[in-house]
């Protein structure tokens, strides 16, 4: 019984991390930058849901996706695009700056005390195991999102162009691919995924503050690195692995307080053994 609960928890936590990790990994693969503000897009999504939730949960979810995408586009256009071709360090510092800017803006305009909602979707009984409906929805939606994204990348013109740009930007341009457009699409997808993750997280935690996205963001980043940053299946694998570690730690009370430390220790071990992560590749950089 405990075992089944653990699997279900692992999948639910892992699915959420995977969805966030996909945003990191796609932006890294295609725009060649670490978008440290990605976690804070989750915070934007979280506040949006809290704000619109009284109208209706569905309106909250839709508004969250729209807001996250808008913020993603604005950040890309105003902060990252002007730095295309600049040194990676300049881009990294800018991304950290954007992250702090979003957190401070939330603190100033919304306040530092957290805002909450109350959601109870109930539980269903499967044999002797009780599973919360939210957990089940999280798992099913995560799987649906990952399948949809995989199909999109594999079978659409824009999806294939994303692979082409991530592999060789110059050669992609020789195909007539507008790299800036593809990067913009990547930010839109990444932000929409962050919004989906924010829905899962807000419904679970029921409390949003200015640093709401920081911890899930950094964990998902670790997941992306464990899976091999730049690799889409890698982000999925990394997310689920981290989710399972968290679920296992959560079920063994003596080590539960050390969950975060254990996760990051595993990140370090993975990087020592395989610096490129599970599914990552060494890449050549070309003009």
């Amino acid at each position: 019984m405990d075992f089944i609960t653990m699997i279900i928890n692992g999948l639910s936590i892992g699915g959420t991390y995977a969805i966030i990790a996909l945003g990191y990994t796609m932006v890294y693969g295609i725009a060649k930058m670490l978008n440290f503000a990605h976690g804070d897009i989750i915070m934007v999504g979280g506040y949006t849901i809290v704000l619109f939730f009284p109208i209706s949960p569905v309106v909250g979810i839709i508004a969250s996706v729209i807001f996250c995408v808008i913020v993603g586009i604005v950040v890309e256009k105003s902060a990252y695009k002007p730095l295309r071709g600049a040194s990676p360090l300049a881009v990294l510092i800018t991304a950290i700056g954007v992250s702090k800017l979003l957190q401070s803006a939330a603190q100033i305009f919304i306040g530092s005390e957290s805002k909450g909602i109350t959601v109870n979707l109930g539980e269903i009984k499967m044999g002797s195991v009780k599973i919360s409906v939210l957990t089940l929805i999280t798992i099913l939606c995560s799987i649906a999102v990952m399948v949809a994204l995989t199909l999109f990348v594999k079978y659409t013109k824009t999806g294939r162009a994303m692979i082409a740009v991530s592999e060789d930007r110059g050669a992609a341009q020789l195909m007539g691919i507008n790299v800036n457009f593809i990067i913009m699409i990547t930010f839109i997808i990444g932000s929409a995924l962050a919004a989906v993750a924010s829905v899962f997280l807000v419904f679970k935690i029921q409390d949003v503050g200015p640093i709401f996205g920081a911890m899930p963001g950094i964990k998902a980043f670790a997941a992306a690195v464990i899976g091999g940053i730049g690799s889409i299946p890698g982000a999925m694998v990394g997310g689920v692995v981290l989710g399972f570690i968290e679920a296992v730690c959560g079920m063994i009370p003596p080590i539960t307080p050390y969950t975060d430390a254990i996760e990051f220790a595993i990140l370090i071990i993975v990087l020592l053994v395989k610096p490129t992560g599970f599914l990552g590749k060494k890449r050549r950089e070309k003009v």
Binding site: R160, E167, G170, G176, N178
Partner: protein, 236 residues
């Protein structure tokens, strides 16, 4: 009016000047070759034309239109593309998907369909391996794929950067046959080669690039017969 005209081009990498005031042109229907040794500036010239590198001075005209500040993807749409040095196929995509990427700018489904047939007829190996991941192809097959991919954009002007590099003599012959084939179908060709023998033989005109400067120009036959060229570029 020339199809492609390069005027007084300077290109710098930081403080290093790789291209020094070069001018040349390619007329519609021609095969033109730039020959030059390692580091002469051939790739730099090709990438500047495609907008992948930004020249510090000079103009590039395509069909009379200045294209210096036009982004690469729009230049491709205007009817130019390049088979880059080192092939640079998309190794994670299948052979088929690479060819689809070549047709990225096109909307004419029927035309694309027909070009797929033509390319598979010309390169049966690519058809046999169409569902294979391109990174697993041999060097020769990758070169064929790079050429097929470029042709899928239906270019008026096709540029090839050392397409024979690293290939066996048999494959080198095949590459030149294919270039002649596309030329006979009406594609204008700008070729870059280090080994000048075969390229001069098929060229209407050629330019010799040395340390970033054009030091000689003439018809393919003239340069092929020139003693200095023979000594420097033809291995004898």
């Amino acid at each position: 009016m020339a199809l492609l005209e390069v005027k007084n081009l300077d290109v710098h990498y930081g403080v290093i000047q790789a291209i020094k005031n070069i001018s040349f042109e390619v007329n519609e229907g021609e095969i033109v070759t730039l020959i030059g040794a390692n580091g002469a500036g051939k790739t730099t010239t090709m990438q500047s034309i495609m907008g992948l590198i930004h020249p510090s001075r000079g103009e590039i005209y395509y069909n009379g239109q200045k294209i210096n500040n036009i982004p690469s993807h729009k230049i491709v749409k205007m009817g130019m593309t390049q088979v880059p040095e080192g092939r640079r196929i998309f190794s994670e995509l299948t052979v088929y998907e690479n060819l689809v990427m070549g047709a990225y700018t096109r909307k004419d489904k029927d035309g694309i369909e027909k070009d797929f047939k033509d390319i598979y007829a010309l390169f049966p190996r690519l058809e046999e391996r169409k569902n294979q991941i391109a990174g697993t192809l041999s060097g020769g097959e990758q070169q064929m794929l790079a050429m097929g991919r470029a042709i899928m954009s239906k270019p008026k002007l096709l540029m090839l950067d050392e397409p024979s590099m690293g290939l066996s003599p048999l494959l080198v012959d095949q590459v030149f046959e294919i270039i002649k084939h596309f030329h006979s179908l009406g594609t204008t060709i700008l070729l870059v080669e280090q080994n000048a023998n075969k390229s001069l033989a098929i060229s209407d005109r050629a330019y010799v690039l040395k340390n970033g400067e054009i030091v000689r120009a003439g018809t393919g036959a003239e340069l092929l017969a020139n003693d200095e060229i023979k000594k420097d570029y033809l291995g004898g």
